[in-house]
């Protein structure tokens, strides 16, 4: 620390120029940070369901789909013509591989001995102008053909039409969804709704683009207000601002240089860096102004600031960065991204606090008016009262805390996880309204695919497949299904007049051969492999909580077991199952990152002070975390990708409690009795702790304005967290210190700087 102070005081301009240069370079890098808004980016790295989906996509050509529902009088010449034009325009969009709608529907009929397959909406008839009779005939065919029994191309009331647009692999799904949205808006004269993964990606991208600048600006403004209230000077307000901006710019710039992209959840990172960075500055500047008020000259004040408070800030900074970097162990790219950007940002903010801030202070003039943070005033009076109260009521504080922990732990068991992607969007927002409309018409919007491996030509297997399809479709969250059974039933009805599946293996094989000779081969390959060894049943499911998705997985496995027995091997994939996998990965991350973060904080805190002191300090964090999740459980809020981060973030923002412990130990070393040392520590450090809590709260409160629901919920809960850490630090920590840390130096690992100061 001495050498650091020496460097900063003797090479101030060099440090400032170096920081400015690096900030400009990394600012350029940060400005190039891209966004990854694909729903695929949300999946765990080693997702079994995603791997199966990829295999199914390769085998059956299954691709991501964008679902469109248009509203109007469909079965009219004008309605059908408009749909035809829309289908044609959508199929011509770059990235569209296939469009399914009433305009691409096929007719399969026995016409005087001819098996006729052709377009239901005949191009020739369209060119000549459809009449109402032809429109009615199309309606009749759609409502009676087994081929479309389980597909809603047009709703039964004739008021809604659906268009399923399949996307090329690897394209920008958001851009594609935007082009679909534009095309439908231009060509369809009426209301419409969109759903599907591409649509969700587009909406997520909009959220990222809206949230990051809006939340960042809000956080900055709120942090500046609290800094101004604390220091009541332009310098005291702007210097921390420069320092936190440096932290954010460096963090984002390095994040980009390492090849990462922003995701919806990553937005928390820069906000956390701002909040944490401001707390570093608060403590350092508080000490600087305190020393100036006590008569020290500028350089002496800077030296003492770095040597005394700097040590605590550095330990705290490393501990926070370590806590954030535990997210790097996650299986979820989004969580890893947050961990990386936060850790880089916090370390950058720490570096700026220890070098850039003191260098700036050294070249800037001393403010004419320096507020003494220990001078009599409202806050000082409150802290004196608090010190006395804590000493007098220490048992009551410990008892109430214990009781709260018990209640909180009970609440923890009431937590229900939910990582459903639809829950990312506001309940009454346009995204969920649009998806809800599509689900209302189509019976679902999330794809579920069931791969059946067996002898598909065997009529017994086909009957089992059809039975499974019917039973699965009857589940409350599963919409209609489609499979080779639908094609075969329609074909058999057309060829024989019997509404059943072909009764023999030869019948199945030969009817499919006939279909190949007159139908679209690609239609078959969507449902069955060329060698008839695998078949696919496609369902659309309603968006659902992951708890329901887990149940659904078991229900589908049970139905498959009942239907197929030993006849076939069945594997299930789909969006709801992927979301359940995200939840499982999230639970794992939650436990691993939280445990590791706590251990790292204890280790890092005890490295300079003592293990016992570190453990007592961490007690505050543990109580906070228990209360956080207890409240989550009692309030019925879900554990999701954002709220699971709350614990580790609490460690990040709450480690400023170490400052109180440091000061308490310092006072004990100066010979004060424990009770007096506690009162003194509260009086001297309490103000910075109070304002740190307020500034952190101000920073995180910006998240409340997020459009991304988990981040919004996290914002509210982080406000609560900051308040809990603040209250615990100012009450429970001194009470616990009086009980468990009466002789902190008995096994202390003294730091030379502190000894020198003492």
């Amino acid at each position: 620390m001495k050498q650091l102070a020496h460097l900063v005081l003797n090479r101030s301009w060099a440090v400032i120029i170096l920081f400015a240069l690096i900030t400009v370079l990394l600012g350029f890098s940060a400005s190039r940070t891209g966004t990854d808004n694909t729903t695929h980016a949300l999946y765990p790295d080693h997702s079994v369901v995603a791997a199966l989906q990829d295999e199914i996509a390769a085998t059956f050509g299954q691709r991501d789909m964008l679902l469109v529902v248009t509203e109007g009088e469909i079965f009219t010449p004008a309605g059908l013509s408009a749909l035809h034009d829309l289908t044609l325009a959508l199929s011509r969009l770059e990235g569209a591989t296939n469009v399914t709608s009433v305009a691409t529907a096929r007719r399969m009929e026995d016409d005087d001995g001819f098996l006729v397959t052709g377009d239901l909406l005949d191009a020739e008839a369209l060119a000549q102008g459809l009449d109402q009779e032809q429109a009615d005939e199309i309606r009749r065919y759609l409502s009676t053909s087994p081929l479309y029994e389980n597909v809603t191309l047009v709703s039964s009331d004739g008021r809604h039409a659906t268009l399923i647009v399949e996307l090329e692999d690897g394209i920008d799904a958001s851009e594609f969804a935007r082009s679909v949205d534009d095309t439908v808006r231009q060509l369809w004269d009426g209301p419409y709704a969109l759903a599907g993964q591409a649509f969700t990606s587009m909406e997520l991208q909009s959220i990222i683009k809206r949230d990051l600048p809006a939340l960042g600006a809000t956080a900055i403004v709120l942090i500046l207000i609290f800094l101004a209230l604390n220091f009541r000077s332009v310098q005291g307000t702007l210097l921390p601002f420069v320092q936190i901006i440096t932290g954010v710019v460096w963090g984002m710039g390095l994040f980009q240089l390492l090849g990462h992209k922003l995701m919806a959840l990553t937005v928390i990172g820069p906000i956390a860096v701002m909040a944490v960075g401001s707390s570093f500055a608060l403590h350092l500047l508080g000490r600087y102004y305190f020393e100036l008020a006590r008569g020290a000259n500028k350089q002496q004040a800077i030296r003492l600031m770095l040597m005394e408070t700097g040590l605590g800030v550095m330990i705290s900074g490393f501990a926070i960065a370590a806590a954030m970097s535990t997210f790097l162990l996650s299986d979820l790219a989004m969580v890893r991204g947050l961990g990386l950007i936060s850790a880089l940002g916090v370390l950058s903010a720490l570096l700026a606090s220890m070098l850039f801030l003191p260098a700036l202070l050294n070249v800037l003039p001393v403010p004419r008016r320096v507020a003494d943070t220990e001078s009599p005033g409202l806050i000082s009076g409150f802290l004196v009262w608090l010190g006395r109260t804590v000493v007098r009521r220490r048992r009551a504080i410990l008892s109430v805390s214990t009781l709260l922990i018990v209640v909180a732990v009970i609440g923890v068991f009431r937590i229900v996880p939910n990582t459903s992607i639809i829950a990312f969007f506001p309940e009454s927002g346009a995204t969920r309204t649009s998806i809800g409309k599509v689900e209302q018409v189509m019976g679902g919007s999330a794809p579920i695919t069931v791969e059946v491996e067996g002898d598909i030509l065997d009529p017994v297997v086909l009957q089992a497949l059809e039975r499974f399809q019917q039973q699965a479709s009857a589940l409350d969250v599963v919409g209609p299904g489609q499979s080779i059974a639908n094609v075969l039933r329609a074909l058999h009805l057309t060829l024989t007049g019997e509404n059943s599946l072909p009764p023999t293996r030869q019948g199945v094989a030969q009817e499919l051969l006939l279909y190949q000779s007159s139908g679209e081969i690609s239609e078959l390959q969507r449902f069955v492999t060329l060698d008839y060894s695998k078949a696919l049943v496609r369902f659309t499911a309603k968006a659902m909580p992951t708890e329901r998705a887990a149940q659904l997985q078991q229900e589908l496995i049970g139905l498959a077991r009942d239907a197929f027995g030993e006849l076939a091997i069945v594997q299930i994939a789909g969006q709801p199952l992927l979301e359940y996998e995200i939840e499982q990965a999230m639970r794992r991350d939650f436990l691993v990152s939280l445990t590791l973060a706590i251990l790292l904080v204890i280790i890092i805190d005890s490295f300079v002070r003592s293990f016992r002191a570190a453990a007592v300090t961490v007690l505050v964090l543990l109580v906070t975390i228990a209360l956080q999740y207890g409240i989550l459980g009692w309030a019925g809020l879900p554990l999701n990708l954002a709220t699971m981060l709350m614990g580790a973030l609490a460690i990040g923002v709450g480690d400023y409690a170490i400052h109180l412990t440091v000061r308490y130990m310092e006072e004990r070393r100066h010979g004060l009795e424990p009770e007096a040392a506690v009162q003194r520590a509260l009086f001297t450090s309490g103000r910075q702790i109070l304002f740190t809590a307020l500034t952190l709260g101000a920073g995180f409160s910006a998240l409340v304005f997020a459009d991304f629901v988990p981040v919004k919920t996290l914002g509210s809960l982080m406000l609560l967290t900051v308040a809990l850490v603040g209250v615990s630090t100012l009450t429970l920590l001194p009470a616990a210190s009086l009980w468990l840390l009466r002789n902190p130096h008995s096994r202390a690992n003294r730091s030379p700087e502190v000894s020198t100061h003492a």
Partner: protein
């Protein structure tokens, strides 16, 4: 009778004896290709393998009897599930064709509408029209290039009244065989299919390509047809080209 289709006939691509001189115009080349002798009848076994873009494949074995391009019967031999299924194609005097399929499991003969000639031939990358060949009279030809060999690169553009679904064809015709070794089919300025012929040898005095492969450049699938057990110019009874034979 329609002039024999010669460019992409499924069964025979014949060429005359080696020509002594090279050609300088597309018309001369196409005339020479048209003039190559063809057997009157052909009986052959076809092994057809369809391979999808992801590598799945399906093999079928067929026995075929044909008389020119006007009459053709195909019977499936393998796999067992479809053995006995058959396809009959007859050209009517007015130039239209009648296509029928027989399925033993249903014991029924079904007709396939003539307007579906562009449809896939039993799930393969060949279409029905590929099986009957392309009439050179429907195209205008121009010689684009003469490569070493020599091999002629000819562009065939459909005439205004042609029923060809293609925008243009690009043919590679080696001088020594006069059997198009490669045909690229274009739509909207892009090659969408490629036909290649190989294993060219003489059988009973006719120069034949035993192997034909059609690549669908859009879907990534391809179909290989290899012919064997060929009998050329042997009389085929008229009853073979009948519904009754199809059912047998």
């Amino acid at each position: 009778m329609r002039k024999p289709a010669i460019i992409t006939s499924l069964l025979l691509l014949l060429a005359g004896s080696a020509l002594a001189q090279t050609f300088t115009t597309a018309q001369d080349i196409m005339d020479a290709v048209s003039a190559t002798p063809e057997p009157v009848t052909l009986q052959a076994t076809l092994d057809m393998t369809i391979t999808s873009a992801n590598g799945q494949s399906l093999s079928r074995t067929l026995r075929m009897w044909s008389e020119g391009d006007d009459r053709r019967v195909i019977k499936f031999i393998a796999p067992a599930d479809i053995a006995g299924s058959g396809f009959l194609s007859l050209e009517r005097p007015d130039g239209s064709s009648e296509n029928m399929i027989y399925l033993p499991a249903l014991d029924r003969v079904r007709r396939i509408a003539g307007g579906q000639q562009g449809d896939s031939f039993f799930g393969s990358d060949f279409s029905y029209s590929d099986m009957t060949g392309i009439d050179p009279d429907e195209y205008s030809h121009s010689l684009l290039e003469t490569r070493d060999g020599p091999t002629y690169i000819i562009e065939a553009v459909p005439l205004p009244d042609s029923e060809s679904p293609w925008e243009r064809l690009l043919l590679e015709v080696p001088h020594d065989t006069l059997i198009p070794a490669r045909v690229d089919y274009y739509l909207n300025g892009t090659a969408v299919r490629t036909l290649t012929t190989s294993d060219v040898s003489k059988v009973d005095g006719y120069l034949l390509a035993r192997e034909r492969r059609m690549d669908n450049l859009l879907s990534g699938s391809h179909t290989l047809i290899r012919q064997s057990e060929m009998t050329l110019d042997e009389d085929i009874p008229a009853e073979v080209f009948s519904e009754r034979f199809l059912r047998r």
